[in-house]
Symmetry: C2
Subunit: 205 residues, 2 copies
């Protein structure tokens, strides 16, 4: 019984623990989008979620704890890698999924808030690292399959190819503050692919 | 006389206006590094610079105005593009200059603070766009020369090649929060070069 109660959030997805978590994470994301990480307050999240403050403090501890759990949930929700049959199709799909995420008003604002927080908060940085670690690993499978099919040279660093597809889009979004367009996404996928085909992502390259 | 006085900061670099500006920008950078953009206060910058508050408010207006002028100064100070004789040498030099900037404790923290600010402040975003616009344009000259020497295909988009060299390093720094190493810089230069040689940066590619 004790074990069942402790795991209630996982074994009964519709249970009270799961409902509280869903409400708190939705409120956390709302607050992040509206106020940014610096404006994120445990009390305000509790009020917005309709949950007791004590529960929020006990379960998540700090604003960084809320952000870490939110990023974990977003990673759970995010789509698996594409399987279009060609590496070109899969890398384009990856670039488009990044484009969609960063240009989605709610999701894009959430990422930007967490990325900003991570520049000065180690817990937020850790949450970000975990999120992108999972995303890169998931999409790297498409590149590994392409190597298996002989579309890319043996020894190609699959994770690095995926990072190379995403990097120019985040660079525009965050650093040069230039528009992130479908054209930019398309080109990013094709350039990473050209370099991969040339062996620039292979071991010892 | 009126014109001379108005331009005092530019025509007499050692003059009082220039000294005030240097002190205020140094204090702005100190405060950014220590407190981040959200902690940047006009009064604190004035006190730290040993300059009257009225001067700071009249000349820079807002914290964003201070950041914009600081980024302008950093662009002025940053080194011109390399001219090693080969595109490979020049792109490696570019990657290393990015590496040095982002791993320099003071400069790296400054960029991270302004990048974080730009996610929620349009003036900071504008300052960032202007800074990187100038840097990309400066280094693009090296790629244009490589096209002229026949090292890269005609029609190669020089600015996009430079963005492609920098992007993976900022992506690691800001998004996946992975270490930005000399090896990552080297690889980034060689991968952009491989894609450029394959024609993936040429018009219509």
């Amino acid at each position: 019984m004790e074990q069942e109660s402790r795991l209630a959030g996982t074994v009964r997805p519709g249970g009270r623990t799961a409902k509280v978590r869903a409400a708190v994470l939705t409120a956390t994301q709302d607050e992040l989008v509206e106020r940014g990480f610096h404006g994120l307050s445990m009390d305000q999240v509790a009020a917005r979620a309709g949950v007791g403050k004590t529960t929020v403090y006990r379960r998540w501890g700090t604003p960084s704890g809320l952000v870490a759990d939110l990023m974990n949930e977003l990673a759970d929700e995010s789509s698996p890698h594409a399987d279009t049959g060609t590496v070109e199709g899969d890398l384009r799909a990856n670039a488009l999924s990044v484009l969609q995420a960063v240009t989605d008003p709610r999701l894009g604002a959430t990422f930007q808030a967490v990325i900003a927080a991570a520049t000065c908060d180690e817990e937020a940085a850790k949450a970000l690292r975990a999120f992108y670690g999972r995303r890169v690993e998931e999409w790297a499978k498409a590149v590994d399959r392409a190597v298996g099919r002989g579309e890319l040279p043996p020894g190609t660093d699959a994770k690095e190819v995926i990072r190379a597809v995403s990097a120019p889009l985040y660079y525009r979004l965050l650093v040069t503050r230039e528009p992130v367009t479908a054209e930019a996404a398309e080109r990013s996928a094709l350039r990473a692919l050209a370099a991969a085909r040339a062996g620039a992502f292979a071991e010892g390259a």
